[in-house]
């Protein structure tokens, strides 16, 4: 038994349509029940006896949680005792009902005097005693020995999956503050979302309040925390707005922290997402994930990791893009001016296969601890260009192949102005590692082999402006002697690769 403070007012109707307002000005017994609960069935006759004995001074009400079961409750008990319809579960939710039956005794002003769950014979006897002392009325004659000592109750309908989220979303304590949009009867919500320009051209999951609430359970951050200002509109984006777009992208709740960290990373002066979206070169924000969260979320770092088929890879990158579109306002033809666009602009996120790599992982190179989970975002305007080298048996030979493909990106006769992301497959990294090559050995080899003066031999410069503009990760399937080259946009006036730790 617990006692509490003042209970919220409510208004419910019984089957005859009569209105019942709480508090009533008299002591009140409320019994929350549902029809298919055996313990409720056990308790209801006793409740009726309370009503018969104390009804002149005490309001004794059954509060039914299910519309389907209510006629049976009314048939059995409702002719003499009010059976109120709470099939919307609003009162059950507000009163924090977790078990049925729950019996609440209040005074006439709605102050909670006692609360009991399930069936306990001694509790009922105690309740009878309380009512007797409150009213000075004769208690009912009950043969208590015919009742069991105790029976557990059943789960309240307000906690059932689906209903719980709906009630949470609609409750006064709901963390949701985003504008609610009604999609009319007969209107197809998927078509509505297309027509209002809220998708990337593929269908999205409708962001219902229930789904967004579930998405928010994936982070410990408050729904109204401001995460960033999103260009080009420099619009404030909250955790809730990111969650809405993550629902639309198809994310699971546990992906949300990765999406949040990605938004934080791209909405920095260094990364310059405005320029990334606006450039005619068609740069796309590409997300590389490191650290323990890769396994927890099942982010693909092996076979097919740059392609379709893995939910986390596909939806994390897509959620990032939908936030930029819907919150930031970046749309092709508006501030997005890419000549060709790029398939990477739909989504591109993958993880480094740290366990298969002999090298220091990307995030550790960038100053994080191995046990940190980190996103690193790149503005990439082309690729993957595939280095298909099945013949090299030495690191030097393979590095030359990689370097010549790097040399060919963008304008082969010009120096690149941006970063290069090199995704080395397991078979290729084995070749490099056999000769003891480090990441830096490969970087230097690329710079050396690309230093060709195509306009004049005396003007030989490496393809990539700086050694540390070459980023190396290991990923991909076990079979295949390939390396994938992604070409970055522009570093000096453009975008700097940016990392952010993923926080729960």
């Amino acid at each position: 038994m617990t006692t509490g403070t003042s209970l919220p007012e409510f208004r419910l109707f019984d089957a005859s349509g009569s209105e019942h307002l709480f508090p009533t000005g008299r002591p009140t017994v409320l019994c929350f029940a549902k029809h298919d609960c055996p313990t409720c069935e056990l308790s209801m006759p006793l409740l009726l006896r309370m009503h018969e004995a104390f009804g002149d001074s005490v309001d004794v009400w059954a509060v039914s949680q299910d519309a389907e079961g209510e006629p049976t409750l009314i048939e059995e008990f409702g002719t003499s005792m009010p059976v109120l319809d709470d099939s919307s579960l609003a009162v059950s939710w507000n009163y924090g009902i977790e078990t049925v039956p729950t019996i609440i005794l209040t005074d006439g002003r709605g102050e909670e005097l006692g609360r009991w769950w399930g069936f306990a014979r001694d509790d009922w006897r105690g309740l009878v005693g309380r009512l007797e002392s409150l009213t000075d009325l004769e208690p009912p004659a009950v043969d208590w020995d015919t009742y069991p000592e105790a029976r557990p109750g059943c789960g309240s309908r307000s906690l059932e999956p689906g209903l719980y989220e709906r009630l949470s979303a609609d409750s006064a304590e709901s963390p949701l503050r985003a504008r609610r949009v009604d999609v009319a009867d007969g209107d197809d919500v998927m078509e509505f979302l297309f027509d209002k320009g809220l998708t990337d051209g593929l269908p999205v999951v409708p962001p219902t309040p229930e789904r967004v609430l579930r998405m928010l359970s994936g982070t410990q951050r408050h729904a109204q925390d401001v995460v960033a200002m999103v260009p080009p509109n420099l619009a404030t984006v909250t955790v809730e707005k990111i969650a809405i777009n993550a629902v639309m992208a198809g994310c699971r709740p546990e992906y949300l922290p990765v999406v949040i960290a990605s938004i934080e990373a791209v909405c920095t002066d260094d990364f310059n997402i405005h320029g990334v979206m606006a450039t005619t070169m068609g740069a796309a924000p590409v997300v590389v994930v490191n650290g323990p969260i890769r396994q927890r979320l099942g982010i693909n770092m092996g076979l097919g990791c740059l392609g379709q088929g893995t939910r986390s890879n596909a939806t994390i990158g897509r959620a990032l893009r939908l936030v930029l579109r819907n919150v930031g306002g970046a749309k092709p033809g508006g501030t997005e001016r890419s000549t060709f666009g790029s398939p990477s602009k739909f989504t591109l996120a993958f993880a480094e296969w740290e366990e298969r790599s002999p090298w220091v992982p990307l995030h550790v190179e960038r100053g994080f601890e191995p046990e940190d989970s980190v996103v690193t975002v790149y503005a990439l305007s082309g690729g993957p260009s595939l280095v298909v080298d099945h013949r090299s048996r030495t690191a030097e030979s393979l590095a030359t192949s990689i370097a010549l493909v790097v040399r060919g990106i963008q304008d082969p006769r010009a120096q690149a102005r941006g970063d290069v992301l090199v995704v080395v497959s397991p078979e290729h990294v084995d070749t490099l590692h056999r000769d003891g090559w480090t990441k830096n050995d490969l970087r230097e080899a690329i710079q050396g082999a690309t230093s060709i003066g195509l306009r004049h031999p005396d003007l030989a410069t490496p393809k990539v402006p700086e050694l540390d503009y070459i980023h190396l990760v290991v990923a991909g399937g076990e079979a295949g002697k390939y390396t994938a080259i992604f070409e970055g946009w522009v570093r000096d006036v453009g975008s700097v690769p940016t990392s952010r730790k993923i926080e729960d």
């Binding site: 949009v181 509505f192 509109n233």
Partner: protein, 93 residues
């Protein structure tokens, strides 16, 4: 049942279905769409006669759905949209 979704945008503009702008003047081509319900043609004939008197500079074009029981086929909707600035759809019985 009305479905409720949460606004994924920065909420600077409303998200709702909006009617196309209504011109102040009726001009050009007006489609008269008979949905093929019984006596719809009688109604549209009369409508065309009345409107032709009232709007002498306007050309009326007649279109007909094969059945009232289904939405207008895409081809018919496209032809009306390409040819006409206005459409009057007549329901009769």
């Amino acid at each position: 049942m009305t479905m409720q979704i949460l606004d994924p945008t920065n909420e600077k503009v409303p998200i709702r279905r909006e009617l196309s702008d209504r011109p102040d003047v009726i001009s050009g081509h007006v489609a008269l769409l008979d949905i093929s319900k019984r006596q719809g043609d009688v109604f549209i004939d009369r409508l065309e006669a009345v409107l032709s008197e009232r709007l002498p500079g306007v050309e009326f074009r007649r279109y007909r759905k094969d059945t009232f029981a289904r939405p207008a086929p895409e081809d018919l909707r496209r032809r009306i949209a390409e040819d006409c600035g206005f459409v009057i759809e007549a329901l009769a019985d």
